[in-house]
């Protein structure tokens, strides 16, 4: 199924976030729920973050869940999680839709930057 690749890279991402010291320092007070939605596969994944740790991943079929939402094609999501695409660049190009508080969106971008710099 199309969603499987995405799930794999997401689990890698979760491991990296939870193990990376710099990322942990940045997000130690951060608690939120992130939705990554693949609009071409009509499903997504909810990541629950508590005090900087990603404590669960859940597959969802409803776009309305999550405090911060990142919506784009599945392939773009995969490239994002593999660090092959710069989130800021995707935002400036209008390739991804991001919803949620500005602060949360910036933290998410900073996490990606620390992971793949």
């Amino acid at each position: 199924m199309g969603g499987k690749d995405l799930k794999e890279v997401l689990y890698d991402f979760v491991n990296n976030v939870n193990k990376n010291e710099k990322v942990q320092k940045l997000i130690k007070r951060w608690s939120t729920t992130l939705l990554f939605w693949g609009k071409d596969i009509n499903k997504g994944f909810i990541l629950q973050i508590q005090d900087g740790k990603i404590i669960s991943i859940k597959e969802v079929y409803n776009e309305d869940e999550g405090k911060v939402k990142v919506i784009t094609e599945k392939e773009t999501l995969i490239k994002m999680f593999e660090g092959k695409e710069n989130i800021a660049h995707l935002y400036l190009d209008g390739v991804v839709e991001t919803y949620g508080s500005e602060k949360d969106q910036i933290v998410l971008d900073a996490v990606a930057r620390l992971l793949w710099k």
């Binding site: 939402k69 919506i71 400036l92 190009d93 209008g94 839709e97 508080s101 971008d109 900073a110």
Partner: protein, 433 residues
């Protein structure tokens, strides 16, 4: 029922957020310019009505574009496909500079208003104190909730409308002394300046605070918000034109407070207007500086701007480097406006550049309307091709009219500023690729 109510509230919040940036107290200075330009009450009203009609048409262009690119980096994304990256970048960065120019005028206004309320220290220091407070609040990441923004926007608008209606209908004026004749060119000249009333309304398209109904909610919220803003400032312009003599308008920096003095000839209503002005300034600062900082931050992250501008604060999770950069630029503008007293330059530059920006945005909407598959446009404007063409052409005319009727430095800043940025980014993007 609860879902319906929640959606209505979210839609009302979108209206309030759209109103937030244009409801700035520096608009009162542009009202001064219009009152001095219009030549008659009829010209003034017709001019603002023309500007309102055109800005609502421009909002339809924004509406169709935001439904294609929801939550995107605004003008940069909207212009990129039809015009290419260098023009999109050059115009977007010029637009940020325009917003900073407006923030400089806003600081000038709030400095003068606070000096009226408290005195003690000169207006320029009040302006710097307020700017610094706004910077600190933004770096600390204090978020203003959507509901609070909603209350502030409607409180400000209703308060101003009440004061203006009172002054128009219940305070005696010698109408025989107020010119009523009509001249189309004077009305058009007023409408060019009135473009400033709506500066920054498109900020709502970049926010992406809430996903529900975003693609259709924003396109519908913008015309409603702009109509409310327009009614507020039409009434304000009429009240100031009727009650404040031109000789006084030429010398005052706080026309709205002078109006208060003329209405009740005492402090209570002036003080009330002054407090409303300060609230307007805070709200506009927050909207303008926050909106611009996100773009500067993303450009720093992308590598288009120096990398340090993409830094974020480890504890507060805010783009502190881009905020400090914006603060420094606004500070220079504040010093310029206070030392020269020339607030009209940033206002006219903003009105002129905004006219050209709306022309490009409307052309971009036309381009997307024709080239993009209809199923990929969630919000389609009926008769879009005709509306977008008329809007684009009208704004080009307004922009050219402003260049022709304004001092030379206004034209120089708009034309050379934009050209330099576009040419710079043409070579920059070519080198990058």
């Amino acid at each position: 029922m609860e879902i319906g109510l929640s959606r209505k509230l979210k839609f009302t919040r979108l209206i309030a957020i759209t109103m937030g940036t244009p409801l700035a107290s520096s608009v009162f200075l542009s009202i001064t310019l219009i009152c001095l330009t219009a030549g008659s009450l009829t010209n003034l009203i017709v001019g603002i009505v023309i500007a309102t009609a055109l800005v609502i048409m421009a909002s339809l262009s924004y509406g169709e574009l935001v439904s294609i690119y929801p939550s995107a980096a605004g003008n940069r994304v909207f212009l990129k496909r039809p015009f290419g990256d260098s023009i999109a970048l050059g115009f977007s960065i010029m637009w940020v500079l325009i917003i900073l120019g407006a923030a400089g005028v806003e600081s000038f206004m709030v400095g003068n208003v606070l000096y009226f309320i408290f005195g003690t220290i000169p207006p320029i220091f009040w302006a710097i104190i307020i700017l610094t407070i706004v910077l600190i609040i933004n770096i600390l990441g204090v978020e203003i909730s959507g509901n609070f923004q909603l209350i502030v926007a409607f409180f400000v608008s209703l308060s101003l409308i009440s004061v203006f209606i009172f002054s128009i209908f219940f305070v005696k004026t010698n109408y025989s002394q107020i010119p009523q004749s009509f001249n189309f060119i004077s009305a058009l000249s007023s409408s060019v300046i009135a473009v400033y009333f709506f500066l920054g309304f498109g900020r709502v398209t970049t926010l992406g605070e809430e996903a529900i109904d975003y693609k259709k909610g924003i396109p519908r919220a913008m015309p409603i918000a702009l109509s409310i803003v327009s009614i507020t400032f039409i009434l304000g312009s009429i009240a100031i034109y009727e009650h404040v003599p031109a000789e006084i308008l030429k010398t005052t920096y706080i026309p709205q407070i002078v109006l208060g003095n003329f209405i009740l000839n005492g402090t209570p209503i002036s003080l009330f207007i002054a407090v409303i002005s300060v609230i307007m300034s805070f709200s506009a600062f927050n909207a303008g500086i926050l909106g611009a900082s996100r773009l500067i931050y993303a450009l720093g992250r992308e590598g288009t701007f120096p990398k340090f501008l993409g830094a974020i604060h480890l504890r507060f999770h805010t783009p502190y480097a881009s905020l400090i950069f914006l603060y420094v630029v606004v500070l220079f503008i504040v010093i310029f406006v206070f030392t020269t007293g020339n607030y009209s330059l940033p206002i006219l530059v903003a009105a002129g550049f905004d006219s050209f920006m709306y022309a490009l945005i409307s052309y971009s909407a036309l381009w997307h309307h024709r080239k993009i598959e209809k199923t990929k446009i969630p919000f389609q404007v009926k008769g879009g091709s005709i509306i977008f063409s008329i809007t684009s052409a009208s704004y080009i005319l307004l922009g050219v009219l402003l260049l022709l009727t304004s001092p030379l430095d206004v034209s120089l800043i708009i034309i050379f500023g934009t050209l330099v940025l576009v040419v710079f980014y043409y070579f920059f993007t070519r080198r990058k690729t």
